[in-house]
Symmetry: C2
Subunit: 207 residues, 2 copies
Amino acid sequence: MKSAIPKVTVQRLPVYLRCLESLPSGQRRVSSDDLATLAGVNAAKVRKDLSHLGSYGVRGVGYDVDKLKLQIGLELGLEQDWAVVIVGIGNLGRALANYAGFEERSFRIVGLFDADDQKVGQSLDGLTIEPMSRLPEVVAEQGARIGIVTTPAHAAQQVADLLADAGIRSILNFAPTVIKAPKGVDVRRVDLSTELQVLSFYLHRKG
Amino acid sequence: MKSAIPKVTVQRLPVYLRCLESLPSGQRRVSSDDLATLAGVNAAKVRKDLSHLGSYGVRGVGYDVDKLKLQIGLELGLEQDWAVVIVGIGNLGRALANYAGFEERSFRIVGLFDADDQKVGQSLDGLTIEPMSRLPEVVAEQGARIGIVTTPAHAAQQVADLLADAGIRSILNFAPTVIKAPKGVDVRRVDLSTELQVLSFYLHRKG
């Protein structure tokens, strides 16, 4: 039986996957040192993380790139197709609806919702923006399990509760506020200023 | 003399700051256990991370919330005002130009640039979209050090090189491609699908 994978390792798996995909096509092997450099962690951590997947490099040879991509993808559930709805179709909602990276990663946007009647009915990347009242129906029909919240802060909690009632089990919150997770639902918040703050740290240190 | 702060700690400082800000206003103390729960790490790690800042909680009392916010902000260089330019004013560029979270964090957007003549001259949140030819001038005038790249993938490397030539020292890349860092410039990539992949992991595990 496979043991539980630590949270911190789970966080790094998408990073390793992205690094593996950035290797020149045709490169069949990668060392833990090279992967560590690309991912910005140390090599011992890479080996430890990947050992949780039952993946071990061969000394002096490294890891098989294709096999490792496949293993990480399987672990992340990316062989499966995830249906996603987006609520709040402002600039960020539009940007995410068009984000090419999602489909590559098995995330299929199946519904766009907005509370603004002016936006309802508009077409975007092959989908029509629908009113909030249609949310439960679309989530059920499409078997959506993931919801992205890109509303203004004041609407985010109510929207999260509606998503949970509709059957959504995971919420990615881009609204600049903290959402209380409805029962049985995971909420992750994305704060777009986090990475800028990390940059700021290093600039600050350089003086 | 203060020792170097480990990279992984730097990554978590913005998370702690956000957690501290999510506490009810008026709460003056927080334990490492509570902060750990909010941040999704373990309490020993919180204490270790904060000790790098010279910040130690008092047993049974915890950390002083305001003092800790101040210390983290100082460490991240947030007492300083950072001038930021954005290149590529599609939906994501617009969303970031309007992102309220940036100004709260001392990041002031001072220039918006696009290669598309149709967009140049449009007004957005008090700024006018300018042609790429104006980039060096605006960066110099405003003392901008941080550049955000929200162009299509094929344009990202060229834009990064132009930013570096203009004097930008840190680049945040949202384009879905890997940028080779110009000399003397830090590049960080934001992959918006990373968090979705972490959600997918947990959904997949739940079955």
